[in-house]
């Protein structure tokens, strides 16, 4: 077929490359990532200058947390419902759902993650610049949900990325998502800019 020959890459090659990536990720994701807990160094905290800078930075960060568009399944539509006229996530400065992870700070994983999709999640998470946070929305993102014993579902997003806030529900109401976001704001408030970040160890991919 002449159109087939116009494709720069053969689709079998692309499929095989994708499949190798998925198998590698399955092998590497046997243990869940530990939930990040911000350890605040007491010595550092006593320094007033650092505290003032911290408060300013944290204030700026939590009032304009830009999420990445990562709606996977049904929870995505409760996320959209939170963003539109009635529940209005714009009050929190978050109405800008960035299509590109490089411009975002929050990864809102909403819906069931399958092994086929997992490399894409890892890639999007790696592309985000520090500081970044992950919110797992819905039963499927937390633990696999009603599909936990399926052959193709990841039993919990924390096997792939470390998660900061878990919002349970199937799907969680927009008010529940907003509650989770406010908890994340409170967590960000306790953060400090002197914390060792992932960027220092590995370059941004």
């Amino acid at each position: 077929m002449e159109v087939e020959s116009m494709r720069p890459y053969s689709s079998r090659e692309l499929d095989r490359a994708e499949s190798a990536e998925i198998e590698a990720l399955i092998a590497a994701s046997k243990e869940p990532h530990p939930d990040p807990v911000t350890w605040i160094d007491e010595e550092v905290r006593k320094n007033v200058l650092v505290t003032a800078v911290d408060s300013l930075l944290n204030w700026g960060r939590h009032y304009s947390l830009w999420p990445v568009n990562f709606g996977l399944a049904c929870c995505a539509f409760e996320m959209v419902a939170t963003a539109v006229s009635r529940f209005d996530i714009s009050r929190f400065g978050m109405e800008l759902f960035r299509p590109s992870p490089r411009q975002a700070d929050l990864l809102l994983v909403a819906g069931t993650l399958t092994w086929k999709m997992a490399p894409a999640l890892k890639r999007v998470y790696d592309q985000m610049a520090e500081p970044k946070w992950v919110l797992a929305m819905g039963a499927c993102a937390i633990s696999g949900g009603p599909f936990r014993d399926s052959y193709s579902v990841v039993p919990g997003v924390n096997l792939i990325v470390p998660v900061d806030v878990y919002v349970p529900g199937c799907p969680p109401r927009p008010e529940a998502l907003l509650h989770g976001i406010i908890m994340l704001h409170q967590k960000i408030d306790k953060d400090t800019f002197l914390k060792k970040r992932q960027d220092d160890q590995a370059p941004l991919r």
Binding site: L72, S85, R86, S150, P171
Partner: protein, 367 residues
């Protein structure tokens, strides 16, 4: 001087802003013109058909909600219809009327979402979506009044529905149905004669009727191509014969017709709900069905007209409480068969508009 060009392959990756879910397309371009499309899906394949074989018939009802999660009521309806066919269960009158009211309200909600997203893809960044979601929230409030959930209802049961409607439901529904034609007029007024909409959708992505039939397309996409085929009229299920409504069809099968179908179908759904409200009888809302249903050995295919097309469930029973085979005939999956034919020859900017007009939901495509 002849310009030397090379085809470029762009990956519309599984994570992209057009919120249709996790869908991937490898599109080959010659400059700006699309020459080939390869849809890749399976990014939301959760193995529902396999999981259903280890659950009982009633435990499978929540799984059906999560198929086309934008139209959970109609999914429930199709499944319980198939089980009732399999086990020969009669449904009481009041339950049938409630099912019809819920299904038609669901159709309106789903089409509101589709209209909002088609316009979103055209670049009307979220404004029409805000308007249509305003009405959709009213419908979701009605559903919450009845069964407590906003998105995945699990409302219908084998032999009826799970709860009767509370007293404040009917006045709220009446208020909504009286206002709804006014809202549809508002959308029409803003959009029907809009130059940008007409320029970007008229004549774009034409699907000829014989191709649509051959590709097993169903729902508004099929009707936009001029084929008058709607399961509610062709093979009436539940009590649809008692209602007076029309089946709108399109003339050309372009994106504009597919968009108009949804607006016209919303008007017809309002008509059906009005009639159902007037005729609603008193009585039981659930037939007496054993707690662990063991249908006799056999098979049944139950299908309905969902907002995306013909949704069917093919169930094979071997006499045990779990289905032996639970097959879902997903309209969105089959509607994607024509994707390649619709895209080729159009430009990059038209691609997402055509894709949005087919209106898929990944939960259904991948199951």
């Amino acid at each position: 001087m002849a310009l030397k060009t090379e085809p470029v392959m762009i990956n519309f990756g599984p994570q992209h802003p057009s919120t249709h879910g996790v869908f991937r397309m490898r599109v080959t371009f010659d400059g700006e013109v699309i020459v080939d499309v390869e849809p890749v899906f399976g990014y939301l394949h959760r193995g529902i058909e396999k999981l259903a074989e280890s659950r009982t018939y009633t435990q499978n009802i929540p799984y059906t909600d999560r198929l086309d999660y934008l139209a959970s009521m109609t999914n429930n309806h199709a499944y319980v219809l198939a089980v009732e066919k399999l086990a020969a269960i009669e449904v009481p009158e009041r339950a049938e009327y409630l099912r019809v009211i819920m299904s038609e309200l669901m159709r309106i909600a789903s089409h509101l979402m589709t209209v909002g997203f088609i316009l979103n893809e055209m670049g009307a960044f979220f404004t029409p979506l805000m308007y249509t979601f305003r009405e959709r929230e009213k419908i979701l409030d009605l559903f919450e009044m009845v069964c407590g959930q906003r998105l995945t209802y699990n409302y219908m049961r084998i032999g009826g529905v799970s709860y009767d409607i509370p007293e404040r439901f009917m006045p709220a529904l009446k208020r909504f149905i009286d206002e709804m034609p006014g809202y549809i007029d508002e959308y029409d007024q803003l959009l029907k004669e809009n130059e940008i909409l007409l320029a970007r959708t008229k004549g774009v992505g034409i699907l000829p009727p014989d191709k649509a039939i051959n590709a097993s397309v169903s729902g508004p996409v099929l009707r936009a191509s001029g084929v008058k085929w709607d399961i509610r009229k062709a093979a009436p299920y539940s009590i649809y014969e008692r209602f007076d409504f029309e089946i709108p069809t399109g003339k050309m099968g372009d994106v504009y017709d597919r968009y108009r179908m949804r607006i016209l179908e919303m008007r017809q759904s309002v008509r059906i709900v009005k009639q159902a409200m007037e005729q609603l009888p008193a009585g039981d809302v659930r037939a007496k069905v054993p707690a662990t249903l063991r249908p006799p050995k056999g098979e049944a295919y139950g299908h309905i007209e969902g907002p995306k097309g013909e949704l069917g469930f093919y169930l094979v029973s071997d006499g045990s409480p779990n289905p032996y085979r639970f097959k879902i005939r997903a309209p969105a999956f089959l509607n994607l068969t024509v994707l390649r034919d619709l895209f080729i020859g159009w430009k990059l900017a038209d691609a997402m508009v055509i894709f949005g007009s087919i209106d898929i939901c990944m939960g259904e495509v991948d199951r």
